[in-house]
Symmetry: C2
Subunit: 393 residues, 2 copies
């Protein structure tokens, strides 16, 4: 069966490597796979695939009009990739993708298109790397009500937070180190701003609640503004800080947010370096937890291959998501919050339960409140770090 | 599609409950399921199924000769169930089973029979309850080398250990409580003796290494002989105690054992009550971890239903295990061990690194040694508690 890669970066080369190195074992398990093409942007760049006759092309039409059965998208481009996936699905080709931005933004369209064209749409690699998460949750979603999902879904942010904590180093210093190690992009906004985690939360939540969730409707706060003093303050109260993506379905409404969180010594607090951690609550199993590498060349490729093998042997679950539950989104969950800000407007003053002033910085613990109340206050402040205080998860 | 239950105990009623309560959702997802029969031992016992026309029968032949497509085994009997599964497979019926004793003992035969008869053999519910473990590992095993698996696989033992630790109570008192709560059987030997965990370890290890592992060849120590002094001793050294099932493939040999283990503050040490925890190492993903309910009515039924839906939509992986890797089993992993014993034979004396004597009890930390060396010493002692000291996992 012929397949093609769109993209030949880190994950793409990982997929090619596994397919080549494991070809004997795959054949033994009746997977007769031929990776025929790799779509790339720059044909002049020197590449060293394991499979010597792999055809590199910069001509998308060549892949579209080819007889490949399944296309693996490991690009990081956005609109271009989305347009191409549409064309590929309409041409009857199955899609395996690791592109979380595209999957999150166009989740409805992609599921609809897969259904209409009778092709498979698989995206295990888009969330939490090697951890088997999406497919098991699809299986649950066929019959089980899931009511809550919390996760550390961005490895870069977690690396920065746990290293700042461990080494007492500044945000800038640890970010620089993460960039040097290749964990963080030159422009780290998507990671440290919480947007990458937000996209993964949108995918997970839509899937388990079968409900459309607009990215714009998810309150998203990152760690881009964190200082060592925030971690020190948390530590003095017996907490650590992690960037948590959270959603909960209750009374037909979904409370959803991505926000740094003060955590006691729990499953999430004990998540270090670039590890991902996910906890899912369901009516049949109370809760289960997953932890493991959320990114990486072979890690993400491993998830891609699992999707691929499922599709090739027709073991994949046909697209069933249709967003039929139009649950309202809210941010009314009541909790105490931590804010560090140089300005303290009147509306915030009324919410203060505890306050410490160091230099220009006010470190504030609020009374129990919710996001809807905090939102206008936060949007009026230009230099603020905010975290939700979680007593127990 | 017609299906039947063998057994209508806790898990069986859970399966029936989910199938009934979720029938609308299942139909919506194209699962047209008819639970036709439940095989029971005592026809006179009053039962209250949700499905009023469910036929209870004590006549196995009725199910064997029926047109049911798939039979769900939720019995706890051993040889009888094995004989029946053989007949059912030969009659072309798929098997979903939660019966870990049968799956472990006859893993080779059951996989062979499934292959020969072109039926599915699914056993997600036999290990770690609701946690999606077996199926994801099957998917990995199609192409990925896995090299190590460690787990807390017996909820009852973990409940006892974590309660003794938390409450400072005696083994007898906590066991009694576990029995009163229904966590532990009247005869708790399979659980506290480590045999239940050993069976699950055999299943997991055989699956990921594709190698036959005789139950008898797995050194198995339980917690039946533990005293509060053992936990106190561990605590004073900065450890807690958990019953760990461990196997590791290295240089073509498998080191395997089930043994109480001294653990630092890690993933396993942080596993409380009847929770199960599993860590798997593989070449593509370093390691990932799972944690969740390892037993329970709806939890185990949830795993059964996932298997069932996979089979009904032909998404299950056909039996591929053939034990082709005949790896040698060893117990040569070098570590320090803790022993509490009233007798200290000469061979043990030579291994002592540290010793504390309270009354008749010698609490001993050995030098680095291995199981092969300890085995003859342990088998000569009638009243001994042994634990392996794990520095880091």
């Amino acid at each position: 069966m012929k397949i093609a890669l769109m993209g030949f970066g880190t994950v793409g080369t990982g997929v090619e490597e596994i397919l080549y190195k494991k070809r004997a074992r795959l054949r033994q398990n009746n997977f007769d796979l031929d990776l025929a093409y790799a779509l790339i942007k720059n044909k002049d760049k020197k590449r060293s695939p394991f499979k010597k006759d792999l055809i590199f092309t910069d001509d998308f039409e060549k892949i579209l009009s080819s007889d490949v059965d399944t296309v693996i998208d490991v690009t990081s481009s956005f609109d271009e990739t989305y347009e191409r996936i549409i064309k590929l699905m309409k041409a009857g080709k199955n899609i395996v993708t690791a592109n979380k931005a595209v999957v999150s933004k166009y989740f409805e369209n992609l599921n609809d298109l897969a259904r209409e064209n009778g092709v498979y749409f698989a995206y295990e690699a888009a969330v939490a790397g090697a951890i088997p998460l999406i497919h098991p949750l699809m299986e649950e979603a066929l019959f089980n009500e899931m009511t809550k999902v919390y996760g550390i879904l961005n490895g870069t942010s977690n690396y920065i937070l746990s290293k700042m904590e461990e080494e007492g180093a500044s945000y800038e210093k640890v970010l620089k180190k993460a960039q040097d190690l290749g964990f963080a992009e030159a422009d780290p906004t998507a990671d440290v701003g919480g947007f990458d985690a937000m996209r993964k939360l949108r995918i997970l939540s839509s899937l388990i609640y079968n409900s459309k969730i607009n990215e714009d409707a998810i309150p998203t706060f990152g760690i881009g503004n964190i200082k060592k003093t925030d971690l020190d303050f948390a530590k003095a109260m017996g907490y650590t800080i992690r960037l948590l993506a959270k959603s909960e379905l209750r009374d037909g409404k979904i409370n959803i947010s991505v926000i740094p969180s003060f955590l006691k010594d729990d499953f999430f607090a004990k998540t270090f370096e670039a590890t991902n951690a996910i906890k899912v609550w369901g009516e049949n199993f109370s809760a289960y937890e997953f932890k493991g590498p959320g990114a990486g060349k072979l890690e993400t490729a491993d998830a891609v291959i699992r999707d691929l093998l499922r599709i090739l042997s027709k073991r994949e679950i046909p697209a069933f998501y249709d967003g039929a539950n139009s649950y309202k989104l809210e941010a009314t969950r009541s909790n105490k919050f931590y804010l560090r800000t140089s300005l303290v407007p009147k509306a915030l003053k009324d919410l203060i339960e505890d306050e410490k002033v160091i230099g220009d910085d006010h470190q504030i613990i609020t009374k129990k409140t919710d996001f809807e109340t905090l939102r206008p206050i936060l949007s009026a402040l230009s230099d603020v770090f905010v975290a939700e205080i979680e007593e127990e998860l």
